[in-house]
Symmetry: C2
């Protein structure tokens, strides 16, 4: 099972749509870098149950992104605001852009 790092970002955007248990498992796998076997032991479930939970969560995250596209827009917005911070000669404008980045 190859770890697709796109899910780190999708989990950040849409993780709250998962159940608490699904979130826990996905966080351990994607954000804390534990292996399937380690998570299975921590959660007292089988390695296959961890894999099934991750697959199910990944489907929910991908389908939500297909419908809403928020993750893609947030990524484009981040680039846009970073460009403003980098290129602005006005400290007031750079501060506004940094405030915008903090919202993402």
């Amino acid at each position: 099972m190859a770890k697709n790092l796109n899910y780190v970002f999708l989990l950040d955007c849409y993780g709250e749509l998962l159940t608490e248990r699904q979130q826990q498992i996905a966080e351990l796998y994607y954000n804390e870098d534990f292996s399937l076997s380690e998570i299975a032991e921590m959660q007292n479930i089988t390695r296959q149950a961890v894999r099934d939970s991750l697959r199910h969560s990944e489907n929910i995250l991908s389908q939500t992104e297909e419908k809403l596209g928020m993750a893609k827009r947030i990524s484009q917005m981040r680039f846009c605001l970073e460009q403003i911070v980098k290129n602005s000669e006005s400290e007031q404008i750079a501060e506004l852009a940094r405030n915008g980045l903090a919202l993402l």
Copy 2:
């Protein structure tokens, strides 16, 4: 049934999470300003069925916003970018901010 205009914005953010039928009814009510009775006639269903569909859609939209908070963040981001467009003395920076607004 009072029309809550917050749903116009939530429908714009999360409408794709509704079924096609729910979207149609919500669009007619919130974006095209038809009455419950008019929508019932157009969709060949009862006025009560229109009302139930809208209530159900509103619950989905509100619950998704409670979990993700994207609508609130988009609204804050819009304000932030509008301030940059308004206050920037550089045309290049204003253009970057307008590009950002187009993503919202």
